[in-house]
Symmetry: C2
C-alpha cells in the first residue's frame, strides 16, 4: 500500500471525464491529450489512452478524422459527437455530486 497507488486509483475514476472535456474544447489527437493531462498533473500513458479513446468511439461519444502530418504518420483528430456532448454534461453533474459527497464524508468545505 502506497500513496501512488491511491493517486492512480483516484485518477482512474475521472479519466474519461477529463478526456471528453479536453476533446470538447477543440479537435485534438492523442499526443495533444497526453500533453494536456500531463500539464494538469494527471499522468496517463499511451497504453491507457488509446484503448480508452477506442472505447469512447465505439460507445458513440467520439468520432475522428485522419489528418496528414508534415512530421510523421497521419494523426487521428478526435471530436465529440452529439451524444458525447450530452454525456459530458451528465459527467459534469456527476463530478460535482462526487465532490460534494466526498467533502461531506470527510467533513470538509471550500473554506478549509
Amino acid at each position: 500500500m502506497n500513496i501512488e497507488r491511491v493517486k492512480s486509483q483516484m485518477r482512474k475514476g475521472v479519466l474519461e471525464y477529463c478526456i471528453l472535456s479536453i476533446i470538447s474544447k477543440e479537435e485534438v489527437y492523442a499526443s495533444d491529450i497526453l500533453q494536456t493531462l500531463k500539464d494538469a498533473k494527471l499522468i496517463v500513458v499511451e497504453g491507457t489512452l488509446y484503448p480508452l479513446l477506442t472505447r469512447l468511439k465505439n460507445d458513440g461519444l467520439l468520432n475522428y478524422r485522419w489528418e496528414e502530418s508534415t512530421s510523421g504518420p497521419p494523426r487521428k483528430y478526435y471530436g465529440l459527437t452529439e451524444m458525447g456532448q450530452r454525456f459530458l454534461k451528465e459527467m459534469d453533474a456527476t463530478w460535482d455530486e462526487l465532490v460534494a459527497s466526498v467533502n461531506h464524508t470527510t467533513s470538509k468545505n471550500k473554506n478549509q
Copy 2:
C-alpha cells in the same frame, strides 16, 4: 456505456479515502460505515466493504477490536493506526490535488 458506470467508477477512486476518513472520527463497525456512505450518496455494498477493510487492516492502516452486541453477533469495531492517520493526511492532499487537476482540465472553478 451509461452514466451509472461512470458514477461507479468515480466512486471507486475515493472509497478508501472516505472509509479511512469515517473511521478516523470514531470507532465504527461495517454497518456504521455502510450507513454513513449511503447518507453521503456513495453507494457501497457489503461484498465491497469487507474485503476492503481487511486489505486496509493487512496494510497496517487499521486495527479492530471485537465488541459484544445486545442485538446479534459480535461486531468488529475499527480504528485508525498511527500509520493510518498519517496515510489519511496524505490522502487529503491527494484528493485536493485531484480536484484542482480536474477543475483545471475541465476549466471550472469554485464560482461556477
